[in-house]
Symmetry: C2
């Protein structure tokens, strides 16, 4: 007798530079995974661009039936219609991504937002487990957030969570969005590197700077503190307005651990009134959060 065929979903986290893809079973265990540079054809033929990635995954395992696909992307996403409304880095504007990818992969395909997907994955498997009111904020090249309140993931037509573009310093540096002093221009990994270079004349990555913070370098500490304070300023208002009391920090910057989390926690507690003390914890899924979120979307669509 032949063993019953295992089933999986194909999950894709499509970013501006990399596509992370995996086959994921119903227990959200990864059966196979691959990361590839984002194909340039993603802009014009997203289905065709992802098809070879799926074939690659298929070649790594035997006897797995793929029943659905989930794709998470950055930018403005309409989950209900499966449309990538706007993703500048990927060259998409009103692209019917769900249909295009579904046709190419020949399975029903759900589309979602990378950060909102990440929150779902952290809730099922990671640092957001056990709560239905939580904020997930990856801090990397950019900053965005996803917020769940009372079990509802805030979407507002895809606009919810763009806290990277909350204005912190109206006289600050010009942001790619056209405004000045957005949170992203102060607290993202790229902004921290840029501001350190402006201050010292020396190049360094955010990771280098985090190390120099621990070593006590004055300039590194100044840039880092400004970043943490800006993040705390925006998060404190967001948490107060939404009532959420757990923050899961993700993205590249959280790899610095308590160098980021400890001062962020202190700054938030100092700014949060009414005796509330939000939890501030690190993402557990880290750079796998988005791809696992795509798997959650795909599996949830089966029910």
């Amino acid at each position: 007798m032949k063993a019953p065929e295992a089933t999986a979903v194909a999950a894709f986290d499509v970013g501006g530079t990399r596509v992370k893809a995996a086959l994921v079973d119903v227990q959200l265990q990864v059966i196979a995974a691959v990361t590839v540079p984002t194909p340039p054809t993603i802009s014009t033929d997203p289905g065709g661009a992802l098809r070879p990635v799926l074939d690659d995954l298929r070649g790594r395992v035997e006897g797995v039936k793929i029943v659905r696909a989930g794709v998470v992307v950055p930018g403005l996403v309409d989950d209900d219609t499966g449309t990538a409304v706007l993703a500048v880095n990927l060259g998409w504007r009103d692209v019917p991504l769900g249909r295009l990818v579904g046709d190419a992969l020949e399975v029903p395909t759900r589309i979602g937002h990378d950060v909102r997907g990440g929150l779902l994955a952290e809730q099922r498997l990671g640092a957001a487990h056990g709560t239905d009111s939580v904020l997930f904020v990856p801090v990397g090249t950019g900053i965005a957030a996803a917020t769940m309140v009372d079990g509802h993931l805030l979407r507002a037509g895809g606009w919810a969570g763009e806290i990277g573009h909350a204005v912190v310093d109206a006289d600050g540096a010009l942001c790619a969005c056209g405004s000045r002093g957005c949170l992203e221009t102060i607290a993202s990994a790229s902004a921290i590197a840029r501001r350190y270079t402006e201050r010292t004349g020396r190049d360094a990555t955010a990771e280098d700077i985090a190390r120099r913070v621990v070593e006590g370098e004055v300039e590194a500490r100044a840039v880092w503190t400004e970043a943490v304070d800006a993040l705390a300023q925006v998060l404190a208002v967001t948490l107060t307005a939404t009532g959420v009391d757990r923050v899961v920090v993700g993205g590249g910057l959280v790899l610095s651990g308590e160098v980021l989390l400890d001062p962020l926690r202190r700054a938030l507690h100092a700014r949060m009134t009414l005796g509330r003390r939000p939890e501030v914890v690190a993402s557990q899924l880290l750079d796998r959060a988005g791809c696992l979120g795509a798997a959650v979307l795909a599996w949830d669509s089966v029910e």
Copy 2:
């Protein structure tokens, strides 16, 4: 043949100084209404305190059957269990308000938060009609907000919406909550009056000050602009984080009309990036919003 008896719900908006009560039909039309000073016994015997108010309403109409009651209150409310978790002005801490009032009025009774109730009423009958993502912010003696995103009213155990205690100026005036520089200490009607007196040595109400803003008085304009800017600062982050793009301003201060709304709109637009331009409109239900919200809660519980 006798005409069929009309049905109504009894709606109560219980505040620290006044109780607004009404009998409201299923079309949300007010059949009878009364406003009374808040009975001092409200703290110890809320059911007994509201019973005479209901009797008063009953005496004003004939042939109306009261099928439910709705009660909205300030503070921290657990709608699901009908508990007033904390309302300092009313002397409540973990009071099972739904049960106590329901027993005294002899109808099933729903409990809700006054500002969240007000948003529901504005959505059914007023300035929030036609949208399911909207923020309602009464600005009066205090400041609180209710936010609906994608049709879900944010609660988070009653903590959502306390934007009056978002910190705007960490070196600012001491707030009743124990923190410094909360939004309420700068932009509430009472704060505007206090700050004007501190600046000029002259007493004035927020209403007087609004009039002096129109007349061009320098001190009035300075105090008013600081209030509007503080409100815009907190609202801009809240709107960016939640994706909401309609703001309904209520409370006593909105009676000043465009003196408040026009600069608030400009300040918000200046701070909102990504090309979004939130609508900023006045409450249509004004001081009836809470009581009508109580009626909405009561009627919604019938289904």
